[in-house]
C-alpha cells in the first residue's frame, strides 16, 4: 500500500517538476498528500497534484472518487476537515484562508451544482463579488507599489454586458435571481460568466460541461479558452473526452478512491474513453 502511493506521488510530482514551475521556480498550485474528511469519513486520502502557471489539467475519475470534494476543499468549504497535507498557491498555504480570501487572491471554483439564492439578483451579486475581488487585488497592488484603479458602476455594467454577450447570455439574466429557475446549462454558463468577471489566476471547473448542449459547450469552452493561458491555470473536472476537444489540457489525471492514481498526457483521456476505469481498477488494486 505505502509502496504504491510512493510511486504515484512520484508520477504527479514528476509532472510538477518538469512543467509546473512558474517564473520564480515555485509551482503556481501545489497539492501535497491532502487528506480530508466529512463527518469523520475520510474522502481524500493523500492527493498529490501540481499545476504550473497557465497550464490546463484535466481531472477524471469514477463517480464518488472525490473530485468534487477536492474542488470544495480547494475553495474552503466549511464542512470538510483537512486532516493532513497542504495546498499551496504561489507558495502560500491557502488552507488557513477563509473562502472569500481564497477568491480574492485569485482562486475560482465553478460548482458542479451551482446554488440557487432567492431574491439576490445576478447583477447585484456580481457587482458585489467583482467589487470585493477587485478591491482586494487593488490593495495588494498598492502594497506592492502599484496603482489601484477602482471600477465605476458604469464600467461594471459595461463589463458585465460584454461578458454576457461573449457567453451568448440574454441581458435578462442580469435582473433574475441568482440561478433561480435557470436551466442546467444556464447555470453552468452563469458560472463561467462569474469566472470571466472575476479573472482568477487559477480556476477549478467541476463538470462545467455536463448539462450543456453542443452549441453551449462551444460557447463556454471559448469563454474558458479566452482566459486560460499565462494568466490563468485550469483544473478541468470532467467525465468526457468531448470537452477536452474544445479545451485542450496538457495533463490528465485520474482520481480513484480519494487519490490521484495515474497521470499522463492528453492520450490518457482517449484511453479511458475507450477502455473505461475497469482496467485501471485492476491495475491499482482491488481496494479501489
Amino acid at each position: 500500500m505505502r509502496e504504491r502511493r510512493e510511486t504515484m506521488s512520484e508520477t504527479s510530482t514528476g509532472i510538477g517538476t518538469s512543467n509546473g514551475h512558474g517564473a520564480t521556480g515555485t509551482p503556481m498550485f501545489q497539492i501535497e498528500n491532502l487528506h480530508a474528511s466529512i463527518e469523520d469519513k475520510e474522502i481524500l486520502k493523500g492527493v498529490d497534484l501540481t499545476i504550473g502557471q497557465g497550464e490546463v489539467h484535466a481531472l477524471m475519475g469514477p463517480n464518488g472518487s472525490g473530485k468534487s470534494t477536492l474542488a470544495y476543499v480547494i475553495a474552503g468549504h466549511p464542512s470538510y476537515e483537512v486532516t493532513e497535507g497542504s495546498v499551496k498557491f504561489f507558495g502560500e498555504d491557502i488552507l488557513e484562508w477563509s473562502p472569500e480570501e481564497r477568491a480574492q487572491k485569485g482562486l475560482f471554483l465553478a460548482f458542479q451544482y451551482p446554488t440557487v439564492i432567492p431574491g439576490v439578483s445576478m447583477a447585484n451579486f456580481l457587482r458585489m463579488a467583482v467589487t470585493n475581488v477587485r478591491n482586494a487585488r487593488a490593495e495588494a497592488e498598492v502594497a506592492a507599489g502599484g496603482e489601484a484603479k477602482p471600477m465605476t458602476p458604469r464600467e461594471f455594467r459595461r463589463l458585465m454586458k460584454e461578458k454576457m454577450a461573449m457567453l451568448k447570455m440574454d441581458d435578462a439574466f442580469a435582473t433574475r435571481y441568482l440561478n433561480e429557475g435557470f436551466s442546467g446549462g444556464e447555470k453552468k454558463r452563469a458560472e463561467i460568466l462569474q469566472m470571466a468577471l472575476l479573472e482568477p489566476r487559477m480556476a477549478v471547473l467541476d463538470e462545467t460541461d455536463s448539462g450543456l448542449d453542443i452549441d453551449a459547450l462551444k460557447v463556454v469552452s471559448e469563454g474558458v479558452n479566452a482566459l486560460a493561458g499565462p494568466g490563468m491555470g485550469v483544473l478541468l473536472i470532467t467525465h468526457y473526452q468531448r470537452l477536452l476537444n474544445f479545451i485542450k489540457p496538457q495533463h490528465v489525471h485520474i482520481m480513484m478512491a480519494g487519490r490521484v492514481v495515474q497521470s499522463g498526457g492528453p492520450e490518457l483521456a482517449h484511453e479511458l474513453e475507450a477502455k473505461g476505469y475497469e482496467g485501471l481498477r485492476a491495475q491499482v488494486g482491488a481496494a479501489v
Binding site: 475553495a75 474552503g76 468549504h77 466549511p78 464542512s79 477563509s98 473562502p99 472569500e100 481564497r102 477568491a103 480574492q104 471554483l109 460548482f111 451551482p114 446554488t115 439564492i117 432567492p118 431574491g119 439576490v120 439578483s121 447585484n124 451579486f125 458585489m128 463579488a129 470585493n132 475581488v133 482586494a136 435571481y177 441568482l178 462569474q194 472575476l198
Partner: protein, 450 residues
C-alpha cells in the same frame, strides 16, 4: 393653558375617568365629543384585561406592562416646532415621512399636532387631510359617521375602548367620489417622553371611485422608562375606491405598541397595504381586511425585523364576506439576537362568499440561535366553491448559500446581508413605489448591521 395645568398633568399617572375629562377639557372639546370619550371609558372599565387564555393573546405576555405608572397623555406645553428628527435620515420613520413629494402632511408630537398641510390642488378637489382635532371641529358629520363606528367600533376590545376614550391626535383623510390623488399623504406620529402614552388615530374615508396613497409613520427615540401607544387605523373604502396604505412602526425600544387596523371594502374596492415593523420593545398589530363588497381585493404585505429583545405579534384577518373577493397576504420577517415573533393569520370565508380566492403566506428567517419565530395559519371556510392557499415557513440562512457567495469573494457578513435582503426582496418588489423600496432596503441594511 397655564404652566400649572401642565405640571398637574405631568404628575397624573394611570388611566382614569378624571384623566379623560381633563384631556377633553384641555382640548376644549364640545360636549358630544366629551360624552363620546366618557362612554368609551365606561366600556373600557367594563371589559376584562386580555387573558392568556384568549386565543389572540395566548402567546403575548403583558405582565411587564405597567399601565398604572403611565401618564395618559403629555406634551401640551411644547412650542410648535417640527421635530429635528424629521430631518434626521437615520430615523427610519422620519425618512418615509420626509419625502419631498406630498399631497399632504400631518405631524403629531405626543398629544399635540405640530403641522398640517395639504396640497392646494388636492384641497381644491374637496380632499380633506388634517389632524383629528380639526376634523372633529370642522367635519363633525363625517366624523360622527365614521369615527370608531363601523371599522373599529369603540367597544371592539379593551385597548380600542381605551383608545376611544383617550385618542389624542392622528389624521383624517377624506377623498370625495371620483377624485384621484397620486402623491402620498403622510402622517407622522412622534413621542418624546418616557412614561407617557400616545393614542393616535388614522381615519381614511374614500368615496366611490376615489384613489389615494397614505403613509403612517410612528417613531420615537429609545428612552429609559416604559412608553405606551395604542393606535387605531380605520379605512373605509366605498365602491371602486383604491387605497394604498403604508405603515412604518419604528418606536423606541422602551415602547409597548398596540395597533388595531380594520379596512372595510365595498364592491370592487382595492386595498394595497404594507406594514413595516421595526421598532418598539413590544409590538402587537391586529390587521384585518373585511371584503364586504363583491369583487373587492385586498393585498396585505408585511415586513418585520426584530433584534435584541424585541417581541412582535402580528395577527391578520382576511375576511371574505361577499362572493368574488380576493385577498393576497404575504408577511415576511427576520429575527436576530433574542427577538421573538408570533404571526397568526386567519382566512375566513363566510357562507355564501363563493368564488373567494384567498392566499396567505408567512415566512420567517431566524438569524440567531436565541431568536424565535412562531407561525400559526388558520382557515375557516363556510362556502364550497373557493380557493384558499396558505403556508408558513421558519428557516435559517443556509450555510451553502453563504459559502457560494463567499467563494466569489464576498465576505461572510456581507453575504449574510445579501441573503437577508434577498429574503425580503420579493415583498419589496411588490410595492411599486421607488421611494418606499429605497426606504425598505436601507431599513433592512440598518437592521442587519445592528
Amino acid at each position: 393653558m397655564s404652566a400649572t395645568t401642565i405640571d398637574t398633568m405631568a404628575a397624573l399617572t394611570g388611566f382614569s375617568r378624571e384623566a379623560v375629562e381633563e384631556l377633553s377639557r384641555l382640548k376644549g372639546e364640545p360636549n358630544w365629543v366629551r360624552q363620546q370619550r366618557l362612554a368609551a371609558w365606561a366600556v373600557y372599565e367594563a371589559l376584562p384585561f386580555p387573558q392568556r387564555t384568549d386565543e389572540e393573546w395566548r402567546r403575548t405576555d403583558l405582565r411587564a406592562l405597567k399601565l398604572d405608572r403611565l401618564r395618559p397623555f403629555q406634551g401640551f406645553g411644547l412650542d410648535g416646532h417640527v421635530p429635528a428628527a424629521l430631518a434626521d435620515p437615520t430615523d427610519a420613520a422620519a425618512t418615509v415621512t420626509a419625502g419631498d413629494l406630498n399631497a399632504g402632511v400631518v405631524v403629531q408630537q405626543d398629544a399635540r399636532t405640530l403641522r398640517t398641510e395639504i396640497a392646494p390642488e388636492a384641497a381644491a378637489q374637496g380632499v380633506i387631510f388634517t389632524d383629528l382635532d380639526t376634523a372633529f371641529r370642522d367635519h363633525g358629520d363625517l366624523i360622527r359617521q365614521h369615527f370608531m363606528t363601523k371599522a373599529v367600533p369603540s367597544d371592539f376590545g379593551k385597548f380600542e375602548a381605551l383608545h376611544a376614550a383617550l385618542w389624542q391626535g392622528g389624521s383624517f383623510l377624506y377623498v370625495p367620489a371620483g377624485v384621484t390623488v397620486e402623491l402620498p399623504f403622510r402622517a407622522f406620529v412622534r413621542a418624546t417622553e418616557a412614561g407617557g402614552s400616545v393614542f393616535s388615530h388614522t381615519l381614511a374615508v374614500l368615496e366611490e371611485g376615489a384613489e389615494a396613497f397614505l403613509v403612517d409613520a410612528y417613531g420615537s427615540p429609545s428612552l429609559d422608562g416604559q412608553g405606551f401607544t395604542s393606535a387605531v387605523v380605520e379605512h373605509v373604502l366605498a365602491a371602486d375606491a383604491k387605497l394604498r396604505y403604508v405603515q412604518v412602526q419604528d418606536w423606541g425600544r422602551n415602547v409597548w405598541s398596540f395597533m388595531t387596523e380594520r379596512s372595510l371594502l365595498a364592491d370592487d374596492a382595492t386595498l394595497n397595504s404594507l406594514h413595516v415593523t421595526l421598532g418598539a420593545r413590544f409590538s402587537k398589530s391586529s390587521i384585518a381586511a373585511r371584503l364586504q363588497g363583491k369583487n373587492s381585493l385586498a393585498e396585505m404585505l408585511g415586513i418585520y425585523f426584530g433584534d435584541g429583545d424585541q417581541f412582535f405579534d402580528h395577527h391578520t384577518w382576511q375576511l371574505h364576506e361577499s362572493p368574488y373577493t380576493t385577498s393576497d397576504l404575504e408577511f415576511k420577517g427576520a429575527l436576530k439576537g433574542s427577538a421573538r415573533s408570533v404571526y397568526s393569520g386567519l382566512i375566513k370565508v363566510s357562507e355564501g362568499a363563493q368564488k373567494t380566492d384567498a392566499y396567505q403566506q408567512n415566512r420567517n428567517l431566524v438569524l440567531s440561535r436565541t431568536a424565535r419565530a412562531d407561525s400559526i395559519p388558520n382557515l375557516e371556510i363556510g362556502a364550497n366553491d373557493v380557493r384558499c392557499t396558505h403556508g408558513a415557513t421558519i428557516s435559517q440562512v443556509e450555510e451553502e448559500h453563504l459559502f457560494y457567495l463567499q467563494a466569489r469573494g464576498v465576505p461572510r457578513t456581507e453575504a449574510q446581508k445579501l441573503i437577508v435582503e434577498g429574503f425580503f426582496r420579493p415583498v419589496i418588489d411588490r410595492i411599486p413605489v421607488e421611494e418606499i423600496q429605497g426606504f425598505l432596503e436601507s431599513a433592512i441594511a440598518r437592521k442587519v448591521g445592528i
